[in-house]
Symmetry: C2
Subunit: 363 residues, 2 copies
């Protein structure tokens, strides 16, 4: 995440398109329209977003003619995450009733960082809300690497634990890689183990777990019936935890991927070719309207605090994408907050459930 800076894309020099047409079918928010997921989890996943949304922009040519009235559908990550948690809750109950097993997620927190404590608390609450048992170990800042490794080892051996998370960052005197490598591959619900990433990259192989945030991005595309196969996809950012696995996931679904990063000379030109954009760089409002092909679908992973004197907190959260501009050009877009953010924890719960099912061979 970028440090807080002042950025306001409403002061853009990029010409703004006219506002969207009013459409009472959709709940409006932030100058765009909320679109419900087109499919329930039991429906086929490949319905077209465009076929049932009068306000979306099916193709560049169609968009051109609609440009004066089009506005992006809002991809409601918060709503989808809620739906997924309800589904997980139902499955947890079903497994408990059938075989008496409750999925368990263990978190190891080292030190006193307030943000880390908040993340851990949120994960714990999320577990409780779906019936997943949570385990927690808190170790003091001055713990030795050996003590952390011992905690990992105990959770590796504990049959009631199906997923293990080591909250990052760890204190600087520890070797993060040693500790993460110690987590059993069968319980690595974060999906960051190189063996998982390798399997994700390879055709004919399947990872045990897919990293939560990129999995959440693809899940949003699926739930909104947005086709991926044969589409041009540009991923902005090449981090191990979002950009790279997101690109690998898109390629697994037969998208043609390009990965834009800090050394890319013409990011705007490349991004403008994309049917699907996933941005995960932590640069507030970096992706402007001029970067976006009309009708593109935008998944904005960035959550960046920017100064806002009107806010009681003195700041507000914005994405990597200038929402105000993008929502007038794209066919669908995730808001920040309320887009990808809530999906990450939902996917963590999903991975933990999947792990317990695999370990106990429960379908």
């Amino acid at each position: 995440m970028a440090s807080m800076i002042f950025t306001d894309c409403s002061s853009s020099t990029t010409p703004r398109l006219l506002r969207f047409r009013r459409n009472t079918l959709f709940h409006r928010n932030h100058g765009a329209v909320f679109l419900r997921p087109l499919i329930s989890p039991t429906s086929p996943r490949r319905l077209s977003l465009h076929s049932s949304s009068a306000s979306s922009s099916p193709s560049p040519s169609a968009t051109a003619s609609l440009a004066t009235e089009a506005s992006a559908a809002v991809i409601d990550g918060k709503g989808v995450a809620k739906q997924i948690r309800d589904e997980i809750n139902a499955e947890v109950s079903k497994m408990k009733d059938a075989i008496g097993i409750v999925p368990g997620l263990a978190v190891i927190l080292v030190g006193d960082r307030k943000d880390s404590a908040t993340y851990v608390r949120n994960k714990k609450k999320a577990c409780e809300s779906v019936g997943i048992k949570s385990f927690e170990v808190r170790l003091p800042e001055d713990s030795s690497e050996r003590e952390v490794l011992n905690s990992v080892g105990r959770f590796n051996d504990d049959p009631s634990v199906h997923g293990i998370l080591v909250q990052l960052p760890l204190p600087s005197h520890m070797n993060e890689q040693n500790i993460l490598n110690a987590v059993s591959i069968e319980k690595d619900v974060d999906g960051f183990h190189p063996l998982n990433i390798g399997r994700l990259a390879m055709r004919g192989r399947d990872p045990l777990f897919v990293p939560c945030t990129p999995k959440g991005c693809i899940e949003l595309l699926h739930r909104y019936g947005i086709p991926i196969k044969g589409k041009r996809a540009v991923v902005i950012g090449r981090s191990n935890i979002v950009g790279t696995p997101a690109a690998l996931l898109l390629q697994r679904e037969d998208a043609t991927i390009s990965i834009v990063h800090s050394r890319t000379k013409n990011p705007e030109e490349i991004t403008r070719q994309a049917d699907i954009i996933i941005s995960a760089v932590g640069q507030p409002n970096m992706v402007r309207g001029s970067w976006i092909k009309p009708g593109a679908v935008i998944i904005d992973v960035g959550i960046n605090p920017v100064e806002d004197k009107k806010s009681p907190r003195g700041y507000r959260l914005v994405g990597d994408v200038c929402y105000e501009e993008a929502s007038q050009i794209a066919s669908a877009i995730t808001p920040v907050p309320g887009g990808v953010g809530p999906m990450t924890i939902a996917m963590l719960l999903s991975n933990t459930l999947a792990s317990s099912k695999r370990i106990h061979n429960f379908q």
Copy 2:
């Protein structure tokens, strides 16, 4: 590799550019010029190919003005591979003299396939030529998976073996993945283990081995001083053994990568944006002149037999790229044969040497 089909890109409808200017500085071959590697292994690797070759095309704009006289430099894989083998030979002698250790490569061959037997024979000869000891086990076609696993196990435990290759394909009654997974990660000189591929994909991680063919492609770029950082690179093909690792390697060197594959709708348009093209699809002459940006560098991994009544064998080998057209547009290109092909075995020897150095902690 594609099955043999009749393809002749000289019957192209793509307009051919005029022939290159005569230049006695270069050894001419196949309508192009051979360029020597600009750097010895001890020199800095980032010299510009363009700065010292009058016949190459430094940039699209420069190329445009030179179009009537430009021709691609030939990237002489055969010559570079020879140079690398000489270097390996010297290093093997040095290690033997210093610590008495000779690198060892073991190959397991199951069944009677003639092509496999030829590959194994070539690998053995290559080992001998550089002083690497080769080990070989031949098992009958009807061997059990257990018998093959036992051979793998013996080589895993044998301290004089530093690299293990299982020649593919295996007979169909065996689980190839089980057998490949049994090869010790420290001796997986093919670099195909998912853990290696995962490390290759991740920032801040390093694979123990890089797969030989893509490593050979990048080595050619290095030895010819072709800059990669910040360049647009298009990889055609997404196989586990070439396309995917080649893209990951290019990205590790800060190229902006796009991966074109069978589901890509506009491969020509995307490829035409590339400064560097690596093609590995096994489609003879698929990449035409119109796919290539003037001045691009082309690494052609394809080795495809096409019918040729004039040849005593009835066929000849061509690449994925229509050489005749491409060599008039690109700034540098690998020929087929004699380009990437000889690099693969050279990189296998290099990986085996590196493995023995690592195991014996010899710098």
